[in-house]
């Protein structure tokens, strides 16, 4: 029988996550079991090592501060919880003892929520589970273990789990594949396709392994135009080899494979390669049916664009796709893959438009082989929103007497490309790190020399240049030139790796520990500061910098993506695998958060005012700081920076 006091507690809790997800009747039950705990100023709520006794806390009035203790017994403020905030929930769910000291900063009243009943609710309220997982993500080990442990209980109600992970659903085994032998005639294959009412036929060998594919389009192109006789074997017109994918492929996998290959049909085989039997065919149409908004359509449209203004329009549409993907909480690896393809398509289109313009201006074709390089986040394939351009151009070595003319051509070309990109919404780089800058448009030999200089003379500017440049990726051109540069860099590093790497590592540690953010955050709330938090410099860059340095020192120059770098590092150093995994997950959280904020505000999402974050976002952000700090400590140790400083 609920009474007034219970109702009062209930009224307070109902606006607070995760209680807000509960029905009133259930919340009343929770409220009826609340213990109201009074904490005089300076008194301790719990201490490290104590077990959580089936309760977690909501601050009703006052302020509770959580401190961590270092070896010397010094206390470091980790978080300050004000009215309506939760604490002490992680150890409870992880079956772990408290790790922090919780102490009342002022006279406080707490609601101690009995967790016994709460645990039972999790199964019925997936959003509560989601919230709890988010709040525990700080030590992802627990989150994983917990996810595994509760997977069963949440499984029966998949519809209720709100993030609609459509892109992660498995592609339906569409139909029995229609196959033919390579020697069969085109007309036979066409008949089989018509009979089965399908748009493609897989050409297989005796073992039913796919050797090629013939689609409607192939038939139109070759037979209908009478280029090839209808009596010719299908092997004459089939596309080969085929792009294969495994049976358990998700829509996301299929889309990535299609985007990468440019093919519209994928062959499903038993083991995902062309060395096993065909089990099905997935067409782009199948994917379109499965998922309404297809990035491939957009990329096609980018290919057809005739002006940079239209590119801008298309890039705006890409943002709608991005918003949808973020909203559905699709895996960030998929989102970055899609957005990188879109960004690349726009760069390529800008290049095509620029080359046409050069022709129109009477400059003719490029006088030498060249590669257009994407640098920075686009180079790493991690750019979601339109940020400043970072790019460079490298051309093959030419005789000295031609050098100036060749360079002049490429500078003019780069001028056009950067202009078009600017029109498309990628604004000019403040630091002028663009191919239109004479310093960033060089021949292979000059690039090598410039690199050597940067590495020998470790000024802050040079270190910044190298850090941007290590993340390069060829987007357009010959494709062979970037590798020459990479080879040179590694040869150089052999010589004086230690000092250079240490300098890079030191530069990476210039950004102060993000934990101070929460101190600022607290100060900001009491009105003394109005500082925003620099998501990029304080949290993301330390992670990308660390990944780059560690991968460089491991001599793995060809991995240019932060996630892939951490993945590779985890394999190289099993003893640190957990940390690298946590770092990658933290980076994922940060990328996502930045994109969500940027989309909401229509900017790059780099700066964040703590007040605009939801409680979950704050938790996620706070939790991502632990790996940042740990990875910085690892750098310090590994490169012995404590001695250098």
């Amino acid at each position: 029988m609920p009474n007034q006091v219970t109702h009062r507690v209930c009224d307070f809790l109902k606006d607070i996550e995760p209680f807000s997800y509960l029905d009133r009747a259930v919340l009343l039950q929770v409220a009826a079991r609340v213990e109201v705990r009074y904490q005089p100023p300076g008194t301790v709520v719990f201490r490290p090592g104590e077990p959580p006794r089936d309760r977690f806390y909501v601050v009703k009035e006052g302020t509770i501060e959580l401190f961590s203790e270092d070896q010397s017994g010094e206390e470091l403020l980790v978080e300050r919880c004000g009215e309506g905030e939760l604490f002490g929930i992680r150890p409870l769910l992880a079956d772990d003892n408290y790790v922090f000291v919780a102490r009342a900063a002022e006279e406080s009243l707490l609601y101690a929520v009995n967790s016994e009943g709460f645990r039972d609710l999790i199964g019925n309220y997936p959003r509560v589970l989601q919230y709890l997982l988010a709040s525990m993500a700080g030590s992802t080990r627990y989150a994983r273990a917990y996810r595994a442990a509760t997977a069963k209980s949440t499984a029966p109600a998949p519809d209720e789990v709100t993030p609609d992970l459509q892109a992660l659903q498995f592609v339906q085994q569409s139909r029995e594949p229609i196959v033919c032998q390579p020697e069969q005639t085109i007309i036979d294959a066409a008949k089989a396709m018509t009979e089965a009412e399908v748009g493609s036929i897989v050409v297989v060998d005796e073992a039913q392994h796919p050797v090629g594919i013939v689609t409607d389009r192939d038939l139109r192109r070759s037979v209908a135009t009478a280029l090839v006789s209808r009596q010719s074997p299908v092997s004459a017109i089939m596309s080969s080899p085929v792009v294969c994918i495994g049976e358990r492929a998700t829509i996301a996998d299929v889309q990535i494979a299609m985007l990468r290959s440019g093919y519209h049909h994928l062959v499903q085989t038993a083991d995902g390669t062309d060395r096993s039997a065909v089990t099905g065919v997935i067409s782009e149409h199948d994917v379109l049916l499965a998922q309404g908004n297809h990035p491939a359509v957009l990329i096609q449209e980018i290919g057809r664009a005739k002006s940079p203004h239209y590119l801008r329009e298309l890039r705006d549409r890409a943002e709608a796709i991005l918003a949808g993907l973020l909203d559905k909480e699709v895996a960030i690896s998929y989102i970055t893959a899609v957005m990188t393809q879109i960004n690349d398509a726009i760069i390529r289109k800008s290049m095509k438009l620029a080359l046409a313009r050069m022709q129109a201006d009477g400059h003719g074709n490029p006088p030498a082989l060249f590669d257009w390089l994407a640098l920075g986040s686009q180079g790493r394939g991690e750019q979601l929103l339109r940020t400043d351009q970072d790019n460079a151009l490298i051309f093959e070595d030419v005789p000295k007497e031609h050098y100036n003319a060749v360079k002049a051509y490429f500078l003019q070309l780069a001028d056009y490309v950067t202009e078009y990109l600017n029109t498309a919404g990628y604004s000019y780089c403040d630091g002028n790190m663009m191919a239109s800058n004479p310093k960033w448009c060089l021949s292979v030999a000059k690039w090598k020399a410039q690199f050597s200089r940067w590495m020998h003379d470790n000024t802050a500017e040079h270190l910044l240049n190298t850090s941007i440049f290590f993340d390069y990726r060829g987007v357009w051109g010959n494709g062979s030139l970037p590798d020459k540069l990479t080879a040179h860099i590694f040869a150089e590093m052999e010589g004086h790796s230690t000092r250079f790497q240490a300098s890079l590592a030191r530069a990476a540690l210039q950004n102060p520990s993000p934990l101070t953010f929460f101190r600022n955050f607290v100060v900001e709330r009491s009105g003394e500061h109005k500082d925003q938090f620099d998501l990029k410099a304080r949290a993301m860059r330390p992670l990308t910098d660390a990944a780059r340095i560690l991968i460089l020192s491991a001599r793995k120059g060809n991995i240019n993506n932060t996630f892939l770098r951490y993945e590779a590092l985890a394999k190289l150093e099993p003893q640190n695998a957990q940390l690298y995994q946590d770092a990658a997950e933290a980076y994922e959280v940060l990328i996502r958060l930045r994109a969500v904020l940027g989309l909401k505000r229509g900017d790059s999402g780099r700066f964040v005012a703590p007040s605009e974050l939801t409680r979950v976002q704050r938790l996620l952000l706070r939790n991502s700081f632990a790996p940042v700090r740990e990875i910085q400590q690892l750098l310090e140790l590994r490169f012995q920076l404590t001695f250098l400083r």
Partner: protein
């Protein structure tokens, strides 16, 4: 009228030194209560935070102890610095027939015989209250009045008075900040103390709502008293 009042007072006075004849006429529930109480002796050296505390409040038809009757009783347990909402006590009595609802309705908002509450009868409610109280220390604000109402009610049903140790939060507040030029006598009402110690005044004048406010006040006063005295509070300090 005058005579029964006198008799009540006599019974009350002899309550703690009950004669055999009186003991024999006690209802069973009251005898059980006395047995529980006899089994628990509290030493004045015990730490206050280790003792079971019950915060009690009664809503009545008025302020005349001789004429008015209890309408509802509310109580909350306090252990150390925690108030346990799950272990609340709450009970309502129907408004006696000869009582015309007057000003008190405006105060406590209990509409006579409203269907919102499940009513019990007086002896049942008293028996449940004594069972809930056990040997706990009773804390209340201006608790003397509530006690008098309960004791008179107990007497009407042939039982002896409450025997628990009693602490009045109004007295505690007075001790912390004595009445004087700066603090007039009226400043010790629950309302003004709640305001002084910044306790939100919601659900005022419901038995349980008042209990809750009193319980928070009790915890806040104790802390301040401990600071004033300079050590953790023992029973003898009060």
């Amino acid at each position: 009228m005058e005579g029964s009042d006198w008799l009540d007072r006599l019974r009350y006075r002899f309550g703690s030194h009950a004669t055999d004849s009186e003991t024999g006429s006690w209802p069973e529930w009251y005898r059980n209560y006395r047995v529980t109480l006899a089994g628990r002796t509290v030493s004045p050296d015990q730490l206050l935070r280790e003792l079971p505390i019950v915060v009690l409040d009664a809503e009545t038809t008025g302020l005349q102890v001789t004429r008015d009757r209890i309408l509802s009783l509310g109580a909350l347990r306090v252990y150390g610095n925690s108030i346990h909402l799950a272990e609340k006590f709450e009970g309502y009595l129907p408004t006696p027939p000869h009582h015309t609802p007057g000003d008190s309705v405006a105060i406590h908002g209990i509409i006579p015989n409203s269907r919102r509450y499940t009513y019990s009868d007086e002896p049942t409610l008293l028996a449940e209250l004594l069972d809930y109280l056990g040997a706990s220390i009773i804390v209340g604000h201006h608790i003397g009045f509530d006690l008098e109402m309960i004791n008179r009610s107990l007497a009407r049903h042939g039982a002896g008075p409450l025997q628990n140790r009693i602490i009045d939060t109004a007295q505690l507040a007075k001790r912390l900040r004595p009445a004087g030029y700066w603090t007039p006598e009226g400043e010790y009402s629950l309302d003004s103390l709640a305001r002084r110690y910044r306790i939100p005044l919601s659900d005022r004048h419901t038995a349980l709502g008042d209990c809750y406010i009193t319980a928070v006040l009790w915890l806040k006063l104790l802390t301040r008293l401990a600071i004033k005295i300079g050590h953790d509070l023992h029973l003898r300090d009060l």
